[in-house]
Amino acid sequence: MRSGSSVAGRLFAIAALLAMPLAAQWLNYPTSGIPKTPSGLPNLGAPAPRTADGHPDLSGIWEADHNIPCPPIGCWDMRASPQFFDISTEIKGGLPLQPGAAALRQERVASNGKDDHETKCLPSGVPRMHLHPTFRKIVQSPQLMLMLLERNASYRQIFLDGRPLPEDPQPTWNGYSTGRWEGDTLVVETNGLRDGMWLDRSGTPITDAARVTERFRRVNYGNMEIEVTVKDPQAYKAPWTTTIKQFIVLNTELLDYICLENEKDRSHFK
């Protein structure tokens, strides 16, 4: 259900390559301003670009790192990060789950993830959106950073205008996010997440008491690291942190993926 449209789109891109000039399609339209190596290839190790105000510019299309080793139960066909299936793969000693949260996670795994909100075409939420195999585009402006998601052609706003987090927010899938620069790192705080979300395919829980901190750092032109800290005393005995790596995606454009479009999977979930 999840990958059909994008894969089709990229196959389409190949077909398009054969038939017409490169610039005539957006799936292979050249990205402007790419630093190049002497041989003319994109120089992904070049320094991170900067905006007019001197901060690193996180703008660009990004995908989750899918080259890290597969978890013990094996690799999946989809080019997704193992963290997409289990966000704790990089955490030594695993997650400090409260007993209730551990039981819930076990139950979710045992039921083959049939109640996963993603399988119902609902939003991925924060921070799970960083792990979805579909692409994300960051559009950074001084007051606001936008994340545009291929999945469900949806978006998330991160406010950089100095506003405080809301005190008693109406819970939503993406919560409420504010960011501030600490040197070259954009530190984003989020509250107001809705209860019952899944952080991964294994049903790792998060509650509406959670506070999520994401530290966005564009290491160089081609790489970004998002260090995620989840502080959620209702589900975890202690805050925990993991790093989600992102790669730049060049010379293409987002392709809308509408999960509800011709959706035939859900009725088979048992």
Binding site: A8, G9, F12, A16, A19, M20, A23, A24, Q25, W26, L27, Y29, S32, A52, K120, C121, L122, P123, V139, S141, Q143, L144, L146, L148, N152, A153, S154, Y155, Q157, D161, G162, R163, P164, P166, E167, D168, P169, Q170, T172, W173, N174, Y176, L254, L255, D256, I258, L260, E261
Partner: protein, 271 residues
């Protein structure tokens, strides 16, 4: 569907009322003062102030917008202005081809039960501009993004000089490029998918349609979008509508996911 939507709006109002009683105004985003807008001596936004400009000198279309209130048919909120009928303010209505006129008649008789929007599918680029829910424009030099509360969805208008795609993979919003003509952002779109509904009546649009939107911010508080649709398969002649938008200040977008706890579509059975 509309009940869900109504709850969302009522929720907004109730929430606002409750908040006023118990927390300072700035502590919530639904009444957070919009930074940097011109204000009158009494603190109210000065909507008649001149158009703001971006660093590159072009008018800045950024802001949260809602459609101008339109006269409503007796059915209520779901039947106002262009949202109900894209040709509501055109003399003689939309110039349907005979097959399209017959289809609209059938869709109306079916109480719109097959409306993609009633099934939580995207509404498409044009129809989003008529939705009573808010939309936010973020203008940057290379791309102007429209965010819509409805389904928390976005649309990109590329202003980096790229051409429209020659043979695009069709989608709901199509592909849009914009260029400035004086103070007007002229946006051309193609690549729409077959079978979108432009309004609640079910006015169709077919693949092959071309759309031109002329965005003009007339003053601080008002935006006019003149839309021309050229879809010869469906309409006997190109037609143009004017969708006026009013700035919404001192609030923020509130996520509305149609598919969240959706209970209506099972009841959408027509007559």
């Amino acid at each position: 569907m509309w009940n869900t939507w109504l709850m969302h709006r009522i929720g907004r109002i109730t929430l606002l009322a409750t908040l006023t009683l118990c927390v300072p105004a700035w502590a919530q985003w639904l009444n957070y003062p919009t930074p940097g807008i011109p204000r009158l001596p009494d603190g109210k936004p000065n909507l008649a102030a001149p158009v703001p400009r971006a660093a590159d000198g072009h008018p800045d279309l950024s802001g949260i917008w809602r459609p101008e209130r339109a006269p409503c048919a007796p059915l209520g909120i779901a039947a106002c202005g262009e949202f109900a009928n894209m040709g509501a303010r055109l003399q003689g209505g939309l110039p349907y081809q005979p097959w399209a006129a017959a289809l609209v008649k059938k869709r109306t008789a079916d109480l719109g039960k097959d409306d993609p929007v009633a099934w939580c599918k995207p509404s498409g680029a044009l129809r989003l501009l008529t939705f009573p829910l808010y939309r936010k424009i973020i203008q940057t030099p290379a791309v102007t993004v429209l965010l819509s509360e409805r389904d928390v969805t976005y649309r990109q208008i590329m202003t980096d000089g790229r051409p429209l795609p020659d043979d695009p993979s069709p989608n709901w919003n199509g592909y849009s490029v914009g260029k400035w003509q004086g103070d007007v952002l002229v946006v051309e779109s193609n690549g729409f998918r077959d079978g979108t509904w432009l309004d609640r009546n079910g006015s169709p649009m077919m693949e092959g349609a071309k759309m031109t939107e002329r965005f003009r911010r007339t003053n601080y508080g008002n935006l006019e979008i003149e839309v021309t649709v050229d879809d010869p398969k469906t309409y006997t002649t190109p037609w143009t509508v004017r969708l006026r938008q009013v700035l919404v200040t001192d609030t923020e977008m509130l996520d509305y996911f149609c598919n969240d706890n959706e209970r209506d579509s099972a009841h959408a059975v027509g007559k």
